[in-house]
Symmetry: C2
Subunit: 213 residues, 2 copies
């Protein structure tokens, strides 16, 4: 069975992005610091074309997270927002550059239809306008038996969590306060059978893995 595996970095006060998000500052004030722990890892830097980096307790968490993923689902803002309805004269390829680090099909939830966007290295962005269940079905089919990653952001995650469609959840909790911004669990209700099954603690981040029992 292909599982839907959600993972996201969250502050101690429950935010996945800081206040005043904008196209210039998509993670809001302080939001980038939620990702300091991963940007420091050799396991992240290599695939993103950067040299060096650390090998630490978070490395195996990241390797575990990437293993057996055949497709990814994300929201429109995580893809890169858009400057208005899509326009063929002004294509906008998101934040991800010419060769995104996914190397598999990515499904973007949006209200604006757009043809698929095939980029270098095997990443194709497909834009899904008919809701979270449709995106999940397309992603499962594209994953060819492997699992589907739910990359965020908070708004899309809330929809999947509320619908009880998430099979596994990894919260990378960063010991900082953002004080405002996008709250991950607003309106989710309860965890609907997801239970804490594994914790990996480091000075920079606590990795909390939840799964259905």
């Amino acid at each position: 069975m292909s599982r839907l595996r959600f993972r996201i970095s969250m502050s101690l006060d429950g935010y996945t992005a800081g206040p005043e998000q904008s196209k210039k500052d998509p993670l809001g004030i302080g939001g980038e610091r939620l990702h300091d722990w991963v940007v420091a890892l050799a396991a992240w830097r290599g695939p993103h074309g950067l040299e060096g980096g650390e090998v630490n307790e978070s490395t195996r968490v990241m390797e575990e997270e990437l293993a057996n993923i055949g497709a990814t689902i994300m929201g429109r803002n995580m893809f890169g927002g858009h400057p208005g309805p899509w326009s063929s004269s002004q294509p906008w390829n998101g934040w991800w550059g010419k060769e995104p680090p996914f190397h598999h099909p990515v499904f973007v939830l949006t209200h604006h239809a757009r043809p698929p966007l095939a980029l270098q290295g095997g990443t194709t962005f497909t834009f899904v306008t008919d809701g979270i269940e449709s995106a999940l079905e397309l992603a499962r089919r594209a994953a060819g038996g492997r699992d589907v990653a739910l990359a965020g952001g908070a708004h899309v995650a809330q929809q999947y969590l509320s619908a009880g469609l998430v099979d596994e959840m990894e919260i990378h909790q960063v010991p900082r306060l953002l004080g405002g911004g996008e709250r991950l669990f607003d309106g989710v209700g309860d965890l609907d059978g997801l239970r804490l099954v594994r914790t990996v603690a480091t000075p920079d981040v606590t990795h909390l893995k939840f799964a259905r029992s």
Copy 2:
């Protein structure tokens, strides 16, 4: 130097009490479950006059928490709220029964003056109406060189955190959602030099200890 040590149980979505708090249900809907981990411990049950209980990874956290504490500060709601201005014809001794588990001086922040309340076993509640710094000064003096515990609730903790007066903070994070209620870090700003220094992970709770670097 006598340190101010704050500790509290918090849900994954950042609440220290659930929605619809009342005198009948002081922790709000679901709020009691934040304390399941501690009520299960032999180290908690004994001092509260209960038999049995577990010894697990949380035991040493709790022992650490209780060690070297000479006085406690808490808010009015944690003491037991009040049925209106204090009345000598209707004394209200809070939630804590005839022999509270503190066995040292406790300072209660309130807007309603009231004479001190000496109970069995060495616990005296002193009601402080002139603010958090005054309560801290009184508590430090009473602690006789030992540390002061800040017991909560969230509203009092926010004031001490915002003022930069907390030297150590232990968050007992429970892997549940409450979905509403009293949020611990609302309006606190940043952690003002408090850094994560130790994590103890169990299936029921993650103990995150912060201290000044």
